[in-house]
């Protein structure tokens, strides 16, 4: 098998090229232990089996960003057979800076001179032959968005891999001063650090040791004495008058510039480019922020309005026909009652829960991919950075935060647009404070019961509370957990480009699938656990005696000072971990005791299928209408819903307006739901941040509810 690694700058069209080559064979995952996306594909070309690994987009191979570390670790440890270096033809010099570094590795390189059409349109002429001469590697022009040049590229790669190409890799001449130093050091390395020389490409190793690369220095315990290091450094300082790192960067960039001048000819007069024209509006002093907010509003609205009818439809199908037919089938095989209950209330409900996220996740992934691919994401960060920095966040954090109001789960998935681990984690930790749609049913029930006169204001106050606490916690985290972590904002603003539809779809599909497969397993497990808690010991008459009820009784004491210390409330809060809207369902089940008996009408399978079909058409219709309707959240209808009337009566007896408000603020804050937690686990590859989130949110929720309840009592508000 031939292993090909694809390396290149961000925005060089690398993803598009990889997608165009691998198509649906592409598998999206994460690099072990980190949040950086890993894409790979195995396929056959010209009778040869190929493994394609897409490295993270990087500008350099220095060990400073996560992406760079991953890319270089992969290259030096796994030594692929060939590197495809994707180079943006419109931005040669900076792209070739990475090429120069790749050549130090001694691994055969093939350059894909991508976005070649755009360079031609600009009047840039690139002399391919002399570029091959200068760099000593094969150069193939490609336009990944139109799938041109791909066969040439793969043929060239196979030729290089099969050693039948004139070009594969070349040692560039860094000038006599540096080269003589390198020769001395290479000899010394072989003498004194042969174990390293066996493991790494020698030339690369030499320059890394020279630069003082921390990762390599660790391997020799920081001891460079065996390298005549001091003399070497002094010699170079004298010649160049600068520190080694700067010398290396300058030498490499000089190589890139030299090559660019040699191969590129472009018109003297530069046209004003489309990107500049668009930016004049989009980044305008007065229009920049409003345009950004309008766009966010559109994405938010589109995502949730378009997907909600489908979510409801899936919910209806699963809890209706699917459950019914599972019961019928289980009845036919005379399954015991507990099996039926486990399958329908545990497994099917659990699976249903996962599937219900499908429309939202896919829509949001689509938008994220589009915003990233088009170049707008970088602008969004540029516009919002000043505001977000105040709470220790990055400009790009705004997007996941806004999405959090719809659903925390895709919001947490969206943190992958951030580059820096600290920014990702901090954003993900604050997202659960954004009041998601699932909390709305609880708010609606309580606000409608207790605050029907100023329901709007009370509801609004809960959303604002979340935002204010996110700002506070952002500042707290910035000064505690993330203290001293540097926050830099050095970001390319790439030219606007239209992402290809096919590419968008592939990427959306892969990202969505990745989430569902991973999350599905955990969610199923947790739903079964909750089912067990609620139904064991088997045959409990009264929910109070179930394990859930018993647990509720124990932890109810904790909620006493908050004004809602009953086991019923405590138990519903436990089940609310799955998803916050379940709190209402559990309350209904516990308080009203006799289960809301589902009318088991006798329906034929055909009838059910027909009904599913009809309701699906309605969902499509609703979804389309929603796109055009202009209301913010048209679904809030406080007071309606007659089904809840008996529950309202009970709640009115149990809560005072004050304790109700304390309860609502607790529900808002107390912890991320299980799906959000799993999304967090997926993104960060560790349960650590989920743990932090649980602890701080429970503490915050408790303190806030306590302050509200006790403070209100002191002031004598809302007790009656």
């Amino acid at each position: 098998m031939i292993t090909i690694a694809v390396a290149g700058n961000p925005n060089s069209g690398k993803s598009t090229l990889v997608n165009a080559i691998a198509g649906t064979r592409l598998h999206v995952g994460n690099w072990p232990g980190v949040t950086v996306e890993k894409k790979e594909a195995i396929f056959e070309y010209d009778g040869k089996k190929i493994m394609l690994v897409d490295l993270p987009g990087t500008y350099s191979l220095s060990p400073y960003t996560q992406e760079e570390i991953i890319a270089r670790d992969y290259l030096v440890h796994e030594t692929p057979d060939v590197i495809i270096n994707v180079v943006d033809s419109t931005n040669l010099e900076r792209n070739l800076y990475l090429t120069v570094q790749l050549l130090e590795l001694g691994i055969p390189v093939v350059i894909a001179l991508n976005i070649y059409d755009e360079a031609k349109k600009k009047g840039h002429r690139i002399d391919i032959k002399s570029m091959e001469e200068a760099l000593g590697v094969k150069v193939v022009t490609t336009v990944a968005t139109e799938r041109t040049g791909l066969n040439h590229l793969l043929t060239a790669v196979l030729k290089v891999a099969g050693n039948s190409s004139r070009y594969y890799s070349k040692q560039l001449d860094y000038g006599e001063d540096l080269e003589s130093v390198a020769r001395v050091m290479e000899r010394k390395i072989k003498q004194n650090y042969n174990f390293l020389a066996e493991k790494y490409p020698l030339r690369w190793l030499t320059f890394k040791l020279l630069e003082g690369d921390t990762h390599i220095l660790e391997k020799i315990n920081g001891d460079r004495n065996g390298l005549c290091f001091d003399e070497v450094v002094q010699h170079l300082r004298k010649t160049y008058g600068d520190d080694i790192e700067s010398i290396m960067a300058n030498v490499r960039y000089a190589k890139a510039a030299e090559t660019t001048h040699r191969v590129l000819s472009k018109p003297e007069i530069r046209k004003i480019e489309l990107t500049e024209k668009i930016d004049a509006v989009i980044l305008n002093r007065f229009l920049g922020v409003p345009i950004f907010l309008a766009l966010m509003w559109f994405v938010f609205k589109f995502t949730f309005d378009v997907s909600t009818p489908f979510v409801d439809w899936i919910d209806a199908v699963i809890s209706g026909p699917l459950k019914r037919w599972a019961m019928v089938i289980l009845g036919m095989i005379h399954a015991p009652a507990w099996t039926t209950s486990l399958v329908t209330d545990g497994v099917i409900a659990g699976v249903g829960f996962v599937i219900m996220f499908v429309p939202v996740i896919f829509t949001i992934m689509f938008f994220i991919t589009f915003l990233e691919g088009s170049g707008y994401m970088a602008r969004a960060a540029f516009v919002m950075d000043r505001a977000m920095r105040a709470i220790g966040l990055h400009g790009k954090s705004f997007i996941p935060m806004v999405l959090g109001f719809g659903c925390n789960v895709p919001a947490i998935c969206a943190t992958r647009i951030l580059e820096n681990q600290k920014d990702k984690v901090l954003t993900a930790l604050l997202i659960p404070l954004m009041s998601c749609g699932a909390r709305l049913p609880i708010y609606v029930l309580f606000v409608g019961t207790f605050f029907s006169e100023n329901s709007g204001t009370v509801l609004w106050s809960l959303y604002v509370m979340g935002i204010v606490l996110a700002i506070v916690m952002g500042i707290v985290f910035k000064r505690t957990i993330f203290k001293g972590e540097p926050s830099v904002f050095i970001m390319e603003l790439p030219p606007y480009r239209m992402p290809s539809f096919k590419n968008l779809m592939i990427y959306t599909w892969e990202r969505g699938k990745h989430f569902l497969v991973k999350a599905g397993t955990y969610i199923l497990l947790v739903s079964i656990m909750v089912w067990l808690l609620l139904n064991l010991p088997w045959g409990v008459e009264h929910k109070k005696d179930s394990y859930l009820g018993k647990t509720g009784q124990v932890i109810a004491r904790v909620f006493k000072p908050l004004g809602f210390g009953s086991w019923e409330v405590a138990s519903s809060l436990i089940t609310g971990v799955i998803a916050k809207e379940i709190v209402v369902g559990t309350m209904g089940e516990i308080y009203i005791e006799k289960k809301m008996v589902e009318t088991t009408e006798q329906k034929t399978l055909l009838h059910d299928l027909k009904e599913c079909g009809i309701s699906f058409t309605i969902a499509v219709k609703d979804s389309v209408t929603n796109v055009f309707s202009t209301f913010w959240m048209k679904s809030i209808s406080i007071g309606g819903d007659k089904k809840l009337t008996p529950l309202r009566t009970v709640i009115q007896e149990t809560f005072t307006p004050l304790s109700a408000y304390a309860f609502l603020s607790f529900v808002l804050l107390y912890m991320p739901c299980i799906v959000a937690s799993i999304a967090m686990r997926n993104e960060f590859g560790t349960w650590k941040w989920v743990g932090v989130s649980f602890v701080y949110q429970i503490a915050l929720g408790w303190i806030v509810a306590f302050a509200i309840y006790q403070g209100g009592k002191l002031l004598g508000i809302g007790i009656g």
Binding site: S62, S246, A249, L283, N284, A378, R386, I490, E492, L493
Partner: protein, 76 residues
């Protein structure tokens, strides 16, 4: 004079980078090198960060980072 002092439309030549370690390395990797020409394009709507052109591409950075990049302008 440093990069954060230039107004949109003004061009400067980089004289020095007054910082060490990873920030300097990152800046250099992005093409911010001594002797390089840099032109300020615009400020973000909220005044910070700024957008500059360097090595034929557009780069944005915060004023905090622009402050360590010392420049000389043609006028001086």
């Amino acid at each position: 004079m440093n990069l954060s002092m230039l107004k949109p439309g003004e061009t400067g030549k980089i004289r020095d980078i007054e910082v060490r370690g990873s920030l300097k390395r990152r800046l250099m990797d992005m093409g911010v090198l001594i002797g390089e020409e840099v032109r300020v394009l615009k400020k973000a709507p909220l005044g910070d960060p700024i957008e500059v052109t360097i090595k034929n591409y557009n780069l944005s950075l915060r004023k905090k980072e622009a402050k360590v990049i010392l420049v000389t302008t043609a006028a001086l």
